[in-house]
C-alpha cells in the first residue's frame, strides 16, 4: 500500500545512497542512535546479519541463547535507559520465540523494536520453510506492526517504528521484512518520523481538567497518591516530587512505579496491590481523594472493583485515554504526559500537609512490622528468609543498585524490601508476570547502565526458564550479579496451593540441579549459602566482584509472602497471615 508515504510527516534529510535493504536496516538503526541490539540469526534474516558483520564497530550485536532472551534483554536495556530496545530474529520459530517478550513489553509499556526476517514475498502464504504469520500472531501484543515487502519501504517504516515505540505510551513494534526486501537495492534516504496522521501520541492537556483536579486535591482532608510507571516513562520524577512535596500527600507505588520516588522519602508510604503494604491498601478505602498518577488500576492493584475506593473522589493523571474509566470510574481525568500535567498543576496546588493522616499510615506500618516485616527481616527460625537476602543486598549496595527481579515470591519480596535511591532501578515483569524475565533482562540492564551495579533476584523455577542465557553472559563478559533464592518450590504457586487448595502441592516441588556447578560450567564464579552467619560475607563478596557472579541462597522451603489480598477480594480484606 502506498499510503504510508502520505501519512508520515518528515523532517531531517540525509543524502541518498544505493544500498541493499539489509544495509538500510542497519543504517536506520544507526540513524535512530541504536548501538546495541540483541538477537539470534537464521536463514530469513541472514542478509541483515551479513551487514552486521560489516558494521560491527558501530553496532554491537549480542547473541543471546534464545530469542525470548533477546526480547527480555532489550526490555531490560530499555527500562534502565529510557531508550528503545532492539531485538532481531529470523522467521518462523525465531519470530514466535519473540512473542512472550513482546507481550511483556506491551503490557508494561516498554519501548522496543523487534525486527524479524520473513520468507521472500513470492512465497508468502505458501507455508514455505519457516514461514509463520508473525504479523497476525503479534498483532494483539504489539503497539504497531508492519510487514515490509519492498526494500524501498525500509527507511520510512523503520522511522515510523521507532517513533511509535517511544512516543506517547511506549510499547513494542514489530517489523517483519521479507528476504527479497533485504537483498534488493534502492536509493537510501533517511528522514526521522515526527508524527503520524492517524496517531496522536500525547493527548492535549486541558486547563479545565487541571483546575478540577486541583480543586479536589486542595479540598481533600485525607488525600492519597498512587503512582505508577508513567512517572518513570514520562521522565517526570522531579515534577512528581515537587508536586507531592508541595501538596504534602502520602504517596504509594505500584510495582512498576517503584524507584520513581526514593524509598526513604518521608511521603513514601509503600506499595499497593496484592502483596503490597498494609497501610496503603487499607487506607485506599479510607482516603477521600485518590490521585492516580501514571498507573492503570491493574486488577492486582485494585482487587475487587466493587469495593475499591468507593468513598473517594478519583483523579487520574494518564497519557493513554483508553485507560481512563476502564477499570475505575474517575471524577476527573487529567490527560497528558505527566511531566507536563504535573508541572502545570503545581501552581494551582495549595501548600499543605496532613500530619494526622500520615500518622495513620505509620500506625498501619507498625502493625505490619510486628506481624510480618520483623519475621521477614529478623527471623527467629534457622532457615533463611528471602527478605534477609534483600536486606543484605541493600546494605552492600546502599540502595544504589539496579534490582532485576523475576516472577514469584522472590519478586514480591524483592519489590517489598529493596531500597532505591534513584529512578529506573527496579526492573521486573509486572503486567505479564513472565517467569524467565530476570536473567536476560539483567544482561540488558547492565549493558544499558554499565556503571551501575545490577543484581538479578531469581527463583529456582524462573531461573530454569532462561538459564541458557548464562552462555550470553560468558560470551559478552557482562558483569551481572545473579542471586537465586532457592526454595525448591514454585513458591508462589505453592503458597496459593497451601492457602486456597488444601495444601495439595500438585507439581510445584522442584528437584533442582547443582546450580553452582552449572554456573561454574559457564566459567562464572559461584557460591552457595545456606547459613545465616555466612550470608553477609557471601553477598559482600558477590558485590565486590568485578565479574559476573552467581550466588545461590538456600532459603526456607515453605515461607509465604504477606500481606496478601486474596485474588478478587477487597483491598480492605488484606491479610497479614
Amino acid at each position: 500500500m502506498s499510503t504510508e508515504t502520505q501519512t508520515v510527516k518528515k523532517t531531517t534529510t540525509s543524502k541518498k545512497v544505493n544500498i541493499s535493504g539489509a544495509e538500510a536496516v542497519i543504517k536506520c538503526l544507526l540513524e535512530e542512535g541504536v548501538d546495541l541490539i540483541y538477537g539470534y540469526p537464521g536463514g530469513a534474516i541472514m542478509p541483515v546479519y551479513d551487514e552486521l558483520y560489516k558494521y560491527q564497530d558501530q553496532l554491537q550485536h549480542v547473541l543471546t541463547r534464545h530469542e525470548q532472551g533477546a526480547t527480555h534483554s532489550a526490555q531490560g536495556y530499555a527500562r534502565v535507559t529510557g531508550k528503545v530496545g532492539v531485538a532481531i530474529a529470523t522467521s518462523g520459530p525465531g519470530a514466535t520465540n519473540l512473542v512472550t517478550g513482546i507481550a511483556d513489553a506491551q503490557i508494561d509499556s516498554t519501548p522496543m523494536v523487534c525486527i524479524t526476517g520473513q520468507v521472500a514475498k513470492h512465497l508468502l502464504g505458501s507455508d514455505a520453510f519457516q514461514e509463520t504469520d508473525i504479523i497476525g500472531i503479534s498483532m494483539p501484543v504489539t503497539k504497531w506492526n508492519y510487514q515490509i515487502t519492498k526494500a524501498s519501504e525500509i527507511p520510512e517504516i523503520m522511522a515510523k517504528a521507532f517513533y511509535i515505540a517511544r512516543s506517547g505510551r511506549p510499547g513494542p513494534v514489530l517489523i517483519d521484512i521479507t528476504k527479497n526486501a533485504q537483498f534488493d537495492k534502492f536509493d537510501f534516504d533517511y528522514k526521522k518520523c515526527t508524527s503520524v496522521r492517524s496517531y496522536k501520541a500525547t493527548p492535549e492537556v486541558k486547563e479545565y481538567a487541571l483546575n478540577a483536579a486541583a480543586e479536589i486535591i486542595n479540598n481533600a482532608k485525607k488525600p492519597m497518591i498512587v503512582f505508577g510507571q508513567g512517572v518513570i516513562l514520562g521522565k517526570a520524577e522531579a515534577e512528581f516530587k515537587a508536586f507531592i512535596e508541595k501538596a504534602g500527600i502520602p504517596s504509594a507505588w505500584t510495582i512498576l512505579g517503584l524507584s520513581a520516588l526514593p524509598t526513604d522519602h518521608p511521603l513514601n508510604v509503600g506499595m499497593v496491590g496484592m502483596h503490597g503494604n498494609y497501610g496503603p491498601n487499607k487506607l485506599t478505602n479510607e482516603c477521600d481523594a485518590l490521585i492516580a498518577i501514571g498507573m492503570r488500576f491493574d486488577d492486582r492493584v485494585t482487587g475487587d472493583l466493587n469495593t475499591y475506593a468507593k468513598q473517594a473522589k478519583i483523579v487520574h493523571f494518564e497519557i493513554d485515554p483508553a485507560e481512563v474509566d476502564k477499570n475505575v470510574k474517575t471524577d476527573v481525568a487529567v490527560l497528558g504526559d505527566v511531566k507536563e500535567t504535573l508541572a502545570k498543576i503545581l501552581p494551582k496546588i495549595d501548600k499543605n500537609s496532613y500530619p494526622d493522616w500520615m500518622e495513620e499510615f505509620k500506625e498501619h506500618m507498625t502493625i505490619e512490622f510486628n506481624k510480618v516485616i520483623k519475621n521477614d527481616l529478623h527471623p527467629e527460625k534457622d532457615g533463611l528468609t528471602m527478605a534477609e537476602v534483600i536486606k543484605e543486598i541493600n546494605e552492600a549496595s546502599k540502595g544504589n543498585a539496579i534490582i532485576v527481579s523475576d516472577v514469584g515470591q522472590h519478586q514480591m519480596i524483592a519489590c517489598r524490601y529493596a531500597k532505591f535511591n534513584q529512578s529506573k532501578s527496579n526492573v521486573t515483569s509486572g503486567g505479564l508476570g513472565t517467569m524467565g524475565f530476570a536473567l536476560p533482562a539483567a544482561i540488558g540492564a547492565k549493558m544499558g547502565q554499565p556503571d551501575r551495579e545490577v543484581v538479578a533476584i531469581i527463583g529456582d523455577g524462573s531461573y530454569q526458564m532462561t538459564i541458557q542465557e548464562l552462555g550470553t553472559i560468558y560470551q559478552t563478559k557482562v558483569p551481572v550479579k545473579i542471586v537465586v533464592l532457592n526454595n525448591e518450590f514454585l513458591g508462589m504457586v505453592r503458597q496459593w496451593q497451601q492457602l486456597f487448595f488444601d495444601k495439595r502441592y500438585a507439581s510445584t516441588e522442584m528437584v533442582n540441579p547443582d546450580f553452582v556447578t552449572i554456573a561454574k560450567g559457564y566459567h562464572m564464579e559461584a557460591e552457595r549459602v545456606s547459613k545465616r552467619e555466612n550470608l553477609a560475607t557471601a553477598v559482600q563478596k558477590m558485590m565486590d566482584s568485578k565479574d559476573a557472579y552467581f550466588l545461590e541462597v538456600c532459603v526456607e522451603k515453605e515461607d509465604n509472602v504477606f500481606p496478601m489480598i486474596p485474588s478478587g477480594a477487597s483491598v480492605s480484606d488484606i491479610r497479614l497471615s
Binding site: 500500500m1 499510503t3 504479523i135 497476525g136 494483539p140 508524527s195 492517524s198 483508553a322 474509566d325
Partner: protein, 173 residues
C-alpha cells in the same frame, strides 16, 4: 445493571493491510459479537470507513471507542445509538421463475422499496433496501416461495449530527 442496546460504530482508518484484524481483535478480546460489519471508502481520499453494529452497554461502547482509537491506524472512531443515525441495509432474494407471475408476490413487492434486478428463465432476483426490520419482514414474506438464495449486506450508516473528521485531517496536513 446497565441496559444493552444497539450501537453503530463508525471507524475512520488509514487504508492499510491488516487493519481489519486489529479492529476485529478488539471486539474478540472483549467477547463482543459483531452483528454486522461493512467496509468502504469514505468521503476522504485514502481513508476507509468501517461500520460495526454491536449490542452492548453504553459504558462498554465508551471503552471500545478508547480501544479503537488507540490503534495506530485509526484516525477517529464514533459510536452512535439508533436514533443518532440514518442507516440502511440491502438484501438480495433469488426466487424460482415459476413464482414470477404470482399475484401475491407482486403485491408483496409493491408495499416495500423492492425491485426486480434480474430475470432469467429459471429464477429472478429481488433487491430490497431498508431498515433491518424491513428486510426481516420482506424475508418472512418471501420465504414461502422457497428462496433459492438469500444474502444481506452489513449496515451502512450516516450520522445525523456532524462528524468533524475532515477538519481533523485538515489540521494534520
Amino acid at each position: 445493571m446497565e441496559d444493552i442496546q444497539k450501537f453503530t460504530f463508525s471507524v475512520y482508518t488509514e487504508n492499510n493491510i491488516g487493519i481489519l484484524n486489529r479492529l476485529s481483535a478488539i471486539f474478540l478480546k472483549r467477547h463482543i459479537n459483531i452483528e454486522s460489519m461493512t467496509v468502504s471508502k469514505s468521503e476522504i481520499e485514502d481513508v476507509h470507513r468501517f461500520t460495526f453494529v454491536v449490542n452492548i452497554t453504553k459504558s462498554q461502547a465508551d471503552k471500545l471507542i478508547g480501544q479503537l482509537e488507540k490503534q495506530i491506524e485509526v484516525i477517529k472512531a464514533y459510536s452512535h445509538t439508533e436514533d443518532e443515525i440514518i442507516y440502511q441495509e440491502t438484501a438480495l432474494f433469488k426466487i424460482s421463475s415459476k413464482h414470477l407471475y404470482d399475484e401475491d408476490i407482486q403485491s408483496r413487492l409493491k408495499f416495500r422499496r423492492a425491485n426486480i434486478v434480474a430475470i432469467t428463465p429459471n429464477y429472478f432476483v429481488i433487491e430490497a433496501t431498508g431498515l433491518k426490520d424491513e428486510i426481516d419482514n420482506m424475508h418472512d414474506k418471501l420465504k414461502p416461495y422457497g428462496l433459492l438464495q438469500f444474502v444481506r449486506s452489513g449496515r451502512i450508516a450516516i450520522s445525523r449530527s456532524k462528524m468533524a473528521i475532515s477538519e481533523l485531517l485538515h489540521e494534520f496536513n
